[in-house]
Amino acid sequence: MMNVHSLPQAAAPRFGLTVGPLQYWWPRQATWDFYAQVADSAADTVVLGEVVCSRRHEIRFEDWLALAAELKAHGKTVVLATMALLAGEPELRSLRRVCEQGDYAVEAGDASALALLSRLHAQGARLPFVIGPHVNVYNQPALQQLAPLGASCWVPPLELALDAVACINPPHAPVQGAGGAVATEIFGFGRMPLAFSARCFTARHYRLKKDACEYRCRDDADGLLLSTTEGDPFIVLNGIQTQSAALHCLIGERDAMAAAGASRVRLSPCSGSFGRVLQLFDAVLNAGASASDARAELATLGLPGALVNGFAHRQPGLREVAA
């Protein structure tokens, strides 16, 4: 008779680590250096592409493809992201280019991308797609509508609480998508993209028109900070996107994320210490390191803002709630 006590404990499933798309306009060399570091990191998946502004030309589509090939050669799974806000035919042309390449899976930033990707899936496209965080899936029937169009992974909207995520894609009865269960990937680290506008707030701040913006968003590697009249950091202007000044950080929510059915965590790039952030998340989520120690270290890294987690707990997003 087997001694049950000697059986190896069922290993906790590994959390996949995804490096989310770069939200800022970094100089070319800084971008290359960043992804060189990611190539040698614990990250499993890297999402590439310009997701905020079509005027940002520092890194072109061909450059992203070259980076994708490099990262793939380093064993990373690469996903190409599409923009969250499209407005005209030139942007639709870029979208078609991303969706029609057949080498990498695509993350849908909006319903235009869903239109193209679902059409390609119906025509027999080989690669499934990711439902990105700016596609509004707030309940299970919505995910059940979209997943069969060819999705394999879902990134919930930022403001969605973990208890809602658990209802939408439950770990014990996951929604079925292209080729099986849809994976849930939680946005677990970084400044939160909260809103999009037709207006470029960075250009507006410098009294410039969007069409002649002088690419001033290049000056702020983590966005342009906006503070309240009494000096509290509040939000960040990043071109047409508005982000939180604080950084979402779910390093202490390992069990809650697992209970909500998440198998992957997304870390959104910031300009400094990102390599260490990746190491700490991997250590806590996948190697049993102490979350409170890791969080304490994160607070010393000079990250661009405070660490918060309110959204995960159905609280205002700017709050930090004891995990």
Partner: protein, 349 residues
């Protein structure tokens, strides 16, 4: 590599020039009556709960009021559009399904929805109820609109207030769905359905609760040097004693950026597209929407009257010009007493 066909404009072009429907807000039965009397072709309304994007205390309709509103509008040949345009709550989506059923049972002509779950429910359970895509779905391209049309049978899409006139024209020419645009009202600088700023500060957002910067989280505090307006814990604006005060909608406050204190996102202004009405008509726009279910019945009546005259004028006259009296009337109701063409004009580009 698989190539997608690019939709051919000539094959999917919208029908030629017609008089756009004037769609007006009804936050109450009284506003509905006044909108209809002032010449609205259609009124839109919502139920008294989180299923619609203007979920404010004291606003909106119970079943009896919807029934009476429908009776009043139908007796005069007008339509009633019911907005069920927030995103169904994951833990209990049943109020949203029930709202769709109520729209059909109470005789609404149209359901306005954003959530694919709500659209799919309506398509399956109330197929005879015409479906419009709410602005909260943030469909900003013809590809996105066609996605909703092909999958969920929407007949019309309301465009977000972020597109230029040229972009509106391009969309209208490339989709079989009807296009509705905002003509007048409070300006949302963010793309509708894509803004979580309110939940970042208060835990409640347009998508989840049908509210932005909810009054329950607003605090006014008298200080020695003026008045502070807070939303939750965040100081949205501070007014000197003699400064006019606005409601602290969080994107309309004054903040510091690089040491400069200013309206960093948006000054309180109103959208007004009277000046480009002929171009919108020429683009084949099927309907012009007036924002403001939260505004008073008098606002609804006066704004409706001006837009009724303007649309009739634009459709009939070869030489259209904005009448000074119209502008004067609308100015009385504009937020911050200023008008803007918003994203429709080049100034935002």
């Amino acid at each position: 590599m698989i190539s997608l066909p690019v939709p051919d404009a000539s094959a999917t072009a919208a029908p030629p020039r017609r008089k756009p429907q004037l769609v007006c807000p009804a936050g109450s039965l009284r506003a509905l009556h006044m909108a209809v009397d002032a010449g609205a072709d259609a009124v839109y309304l919502g139920l008294k709960d989180a299923t619609n994007a203007r979920n404010f205390a004291g606003l909106n309709f119970d079943d009896a009021q919807v029934r009476e509103g429908v009776r009043y509008a139908h007796a005069r040949g007008r339509e009633v559009l019911m907005a069920v345009n927030t995103y169904a709550e994951a833990r209990d989506p049943s109020p949203w399904w029930r709202a769709v059923d109520r729209a059909a049972e109470l005789g609404a002509d149209v359901l306005i929805a954003a959530d694919v779950a709500v659209l799919a429910y309506a398509q399956q359970h109330q197929p005879q109820l015409r479906r419009h895509l709410s602005v909260q779905a943030s469909a900003t391209t013809y590809e996105a609109i066609e996605f909703y049309r092909e999958r969920f049978g929407i007949r019309r899409a309301v465009l977000p207030r972020v597109l230029t006139l040229a972009q509106v024209q391009h969309i209208a020419a490339h989709t079989q769905a009807e296009i509705e645009v905002f003509g007048f009202g409070s300006l949302c600088v963010m793309v509708e359905g894509r803004c979580a700023l309110s939940s970042y500060v208060t835990g409640q957002s347009p998508n989840t609760a049908g509210v932005c910067s909810p009054p329950s989280h607003v605090r006014w505090q008298e200080k020695a040097d003026g008045v502070e307006a807070r939303l939750g814990e965040v100081l949205i604006d501070r007014y000197a004693a003699d400064e006019p005060r606005g409601y602290p909608t969080l994107c309309k406050g004054r903040f510091h950026v690089n040491g400069e204190r200013d309206y960093a996102l948006e000054e309180p202004t109103s959208l007004n597209t009277l000046a480009m009405l002929p171009q919108l008509v020429d683009a084949g726009v099927a309907a012009v929407k007036i924002e403001g279910r939260q505004r008073s019945p008098s606002y609804v009546a006066e704004v409706t009257r001006v837009w009724r005259a303007a649309i009739d004028h634009a459709a009939a006259a070869t030489r259209y010009a904005v009448q000074p009296a119209w502008s004067a009337q609308l100015s009385r109701w504009a937020e911050g007493q200023q008008h803007t063409l918003g994203a429709y004009e080049r100034a935002w580009r």
